[in-house]
């Protein structure tokens, strides 16, 4: 434990975490007295479950300042992607608030939601490129749909976006001709095509080789800083995240179990974070699926 170098750090046990007070504390810290950084995305005490009996998210609170790259980490199936869907308005929380740029997302009607989404860029797991369009047309897609641009200007814009991810030369290829890493970069170019305010990344590193992984990681950071966007990265790749993000939330069983900056993550002794960072098989996240006593079960069968 680092003992609150920046005031961000806390490593509370899962059961005693008080999400509401937590978020207000942090707001004071992040906002600061001198130059208050604007909050791009805010979740306050959000609960959500696909069926009412089982909650996927249970009292999640986070504040993401404008211009930051923030990672949401956790094991598979812990509700990370659900958080992105709540921010994007694909899902509505059962309780709590979801604010994007001060606007409450769950209260928007369909038209207002679509209007808001024009300020979003989303990189889906495995890219989700349109398989019937060329790389060029994939990047041009939102420009064609939402902006009535002359063809020459549109061409220049698309080539600029493709150039920024290093794939101007691949403009005429079909998505099926791309490697996994290239597809992810094209999806990245498509996500920033409309110069979004916020980019949401859903597992941008999944299934990439180390070189592609590094390239995508650097691109996320560079594009974020160059275009002044705010990035939310959902991932379980701890090493790449520690290199590029400003702040990390660890989610487990629907709750935020730990949060802090990359240097705090490296220094902390928190059991969950250590298990995650060091890849230990057993720990706060148990190796065994819940089961009756091993001894009883073997003896009962005999």
């Amino acid at each position: 434990m680092t003992g609150g170098v920046t005031g961000y750090n806390r490593c509370p046990p899962i059961v005693t975490q008080d999400s509401v007070s937590n978020s207000t504390d942090k707001a004071a810290v992040v906002a600061g007295p001198a130059s208050p950084p604007e909050i791009a995305v805010e979740l306050a005490d959000v609960t959500f479950g696909y069926d009412p009996a089982r909650r996927v998210l249970d009292g999640i609170s986070m504040q993401i300042p404008r211009g930051n790259v923030v990672a949401i980490m956790g094991g598979s199936g812990c509700g990370k992607t659900t958080i992105l869907r709540l921010i994007g308005g694909q899902l509505r929380p059962q309780s709590g608030r979801v604010l994007v740029g001060g606007v409450s997302v769950p209260d928007l009607d369909r038209d207002a939601l679509f209007e808001l989404r024009r300020k979003f860029g989303v990189l889906f797991q495995f890219g989700a490129l349109f398989t019937d369009l060329t790389v060029f047309e994939n990047v041009a897609f939102t420009l064609r749909e939402h902006a009535d641009l002359p063809e020459a200007l549109l061409r220049d814009l698309v080539l600029m976006k493709l150039n920024s991810v290093g794939l101007r030369g691949a403009a005429e290829l079909m998505p099926s001709e791309l490697s996994g890493g290239m597809a992810r970069r094209v999806a990245l170019a498509r996500a920033i095509a409309l110069d979004p305010m916020i980019v949401l990344y859903d597992e941008p590193f999944a299934g990439l080789d180390p070189i592609s992984l590094g390239v995508v990681g650097q691109l996320i950071r560079k594009l974020n800083d160059a275009l002044g966007i705010t990035s939310v990265v959902v991932t379980h790749d701890i090493y790449e995240s520690l290199r590029i993000v400003d702040y990390i939330y660890f989610v487990s069983a629907g709750k935020i179990v730990w949060e802090g900056t990359p240097s705090e993550v490296r220094a902390t002794g928190d059991a969950f974070v250590r298990q995650f960072v060091d890849g230990q098989a057993d720990g706060p996240v148990p190796f065994h699926y819940p089961a009756p006593s091993y001894r009883d079960e073997l003896l009962a069968r005999a």
């Binding site: 989303v122 889906f124 398989t131 019937d132």
Partner: protein, 269 residues
């Protein structure tokens, strides 16, 4: 034990009720889906190239199977028809028999069945896979409605292609019958064409056939886009949706054909 019997009866009643309400719910949902597709039509037609592209995929790419099937159905019809007609000395009416069968029934129905398995299944699989690979979700997140961008153009592409394919099927069928009847068997060409011309009524036969093919086009296209859009986003989900499209479309064509025929040829019988 009576209480156990009662429980079993109640259980099967509950299952039956559940089955009925499930199907009713799906039917109601598909009706709302149809309304949504129609409501999105003006938006989709503003960019006509999307629909033209789908006409190419559903219509032009189905041409080979439709034309070949039409030709062979016509040739077989001529052989079978001649065999029966000559017993009554009516082999001069072969052209009439073939033309009426094709224009009224076989053209729309067989072309519809082929269209369902060739184009309908492809539409379902494509939309289902777009859903499974999150392309539809990506579109939604880009503030583009997949119903307007993906579903509606495919629906109209199918609706426009189907009557044209049925007409070509019938045309090739008549041509096949001409080859077999006139060229191979040796029926008089003048009788073949002349009798056909005087016996086939434009409104009663041709137009009714066109109406049928339009109705089948709407049914097959709606089922195809609906099943694709509502497929489970997994490999099994897409494959079972594709199967359902072919089965449901075929049954819908046969059932609709019966109903339409009853209404159209009421006065004839």
């Amino acid at each position: 034990m009576p209480s156990a019997d009662l429980g079993a009866v109640a259980g099967s009643l509950r299952r039956l009720g559940g089955l009925v309400t499930d199907h009713l719910e799906r039917l109601g949902y598909s009706a709302r889906f149809f309304v949504a597709v129609v409501a999105n039509t003006p938006a989709a037609f503003r960019r006509l190239h999307l629909t033209l592209r789908e006409i190419y995929f559903s219509g032009v790419l189905s041409l080979v199977i439709i034309l070949i099937s039409g030709l062979f159905v016509g040739m077989v019809l001529a052989l079978q028809g001649f065999d029966v007609l000559q017993r009554y000395g009516a082999d001069q009416s072969l052209g009439v028999l073939v033309a009426l069968s094709l224009v009224r029934e076989l053209g729309p129905v067989v072309a519809g069945l082929l269209f369902a398995s060739r184009a309908g299944s492809a539409i379902t699989a494509e939309i289902g896979l777009m859903k499974a690979t999150e392309q539809l979700a990506a579109m939604e997140m880009m503030a583009v409605d997949p119903l307007a961008r993906v579903v509606t153009p495919r629906f109209w592409g199918g609706v426009i292609s189907m009557p044209l394919l049925a007409a070509l099927f019938s045309t090739l069928g008549v041509f096949g019958a001409y080859i077999v009847g006139v060229r191979l068997i040796g029926i008089d060409a003048g009788a073949f064409w002349g009798n056909m011309q005087s016996a086939v009524d434009f409104q009663k036969d041709v137009l009714n056939g066109v109406i049928k093919s339009v109705v089948f086009g709407v049914a097959v296209s709606l089922i195809a886009v609906f099943e694709g859009y509502n497929a489970k986003p997994t490999a099994e989900g897409v494959s079972s949706a594709t199967t359902r499209t072919v089965v449901l479309s075929s049954l819908a064509i046969l059932a609709l054909d019966f109903v339409l025929t009853v209404f159209m040829f009421r006065g004839v019988a």
